[in-house]
Symmetry: C2
DNA sequence: AGTGAAAAGCGCGCTTC
DNA sequence: GAAGCGCGCTTTTCACT
């Protein structure tokens, strides 16, 4: 069911390009090997370089060079431990939808800058739609959560509304984070 | 504003326990060193063991043992590379709020099981409130995002409503993920 | 349980193809 | 741009405190 080209007598011209994606070199400069390395490191960020090289089918020295290049280009931003917050005494997680009033750009920027540093803040999403921001936070108890929302969000002059949803379960997807 | 106990003349009995957290051994079995190791590895998952040991004030061999214990106990679930999805050709991110109809437990479970494996799914949150699930997804283009929502969410028999919000910006908080 | 020294394995430079 | 070699360092094990 293959090798139709074998019936053709001579050597194929090297610029033969059947329709479809090229085998290597995607538009953003990442080839298949790079993508595989990224995929593997997203799954296990502590995989040793030689194991990584073998899994990707390249030499260890080449693999090291590739990974460094990926870090330098910002494709890989860093490596982080995935921590069970429950084991750290933060068994509660919540998503807080925050609506911002019609304030000055500076005021909004101040909010955007301070929030990621607040204790328990896991992620800050700036989103389209009825709400402006969505905060992913962890807390030690319902009281601590309430206190966090009241003290840092509701009390903030930029915030006109904050709506908290408890997270019953959080599952990481297969694609990255 | 401290050391009220210093005014007390003699040596403190060793079983003195003023109200408040003990200096070591939290209720969940994690002492201060463990917490520091977790914090450091959450910030940089590839920090070398000897540097980690020095930062935590313990010997490298002890450090290795502590980290292994943390992994074995599930406090540290794993290590992952933080990938710039834009560099991988997925410049769009969105949050999709999904409402589930009154279906059988099996139907809901099927949805919950299939979603994390769908291409582009970064996280699945099961939340309280008007919506049942919130999906954090990435996509290559607006068309790809629309296609994803229509094919995998709207078309799913368990789903009665799906509302997509584009993510303009996503900032990681200081506390973990 | 924590530490220190010794052995094994890895990271990472340089050189060659 | 990719692979092989070699040194230096890190990781990891083991006996000891």
């Amino acid at each position: 069911m293959d090798s139709v080209e074998e019936s053709y007598s001579g050597v194929m011209p090297k610029d033969r390009r059947p329709p479809g994606p090229a085998p290597r070199a995607a538009p953003d400069g990442l080839d298949e090997v790079d993508r595989e390395l990224v995929r593997l490191l997203a799954a296990d960020g502590r995989m040793p370089n030689n194991a990584l090289a073998e899994a990707a089918g390249i030499a260890p020295s080449t693999c090291l060079m590739r990974v460094r290049s990926l870090r330098d280009r910002g494709v890989i931003r860093g490596f982080h431990a995935d921590v069970d917050l429950g084991a750290l005494g933060q068994p509660l997680q919540a998503l807080v939808a925050v609506r911002i009033g019609a304030h000055s750009r500076d005021e909004i920027n101040r909010f955007r800058t301070k929030v990621p540093g607040l204790p328990g803040v896991l992620s800050l999403f700036h989103v389209s739609g009825a709400n402006d921001y969505l905060l992913h936070v962890s807390a030690a108890s319902p009281d601590a959560l309430r206190e966090f929302v009241l003290d840092h969000l509701t009390a903030d002059p930029a915030v006109v509304h904050a709506e908290t949803s408890l997270i019953f379960e959080h599952v990481r997807g297969a694609s990255g984070a």
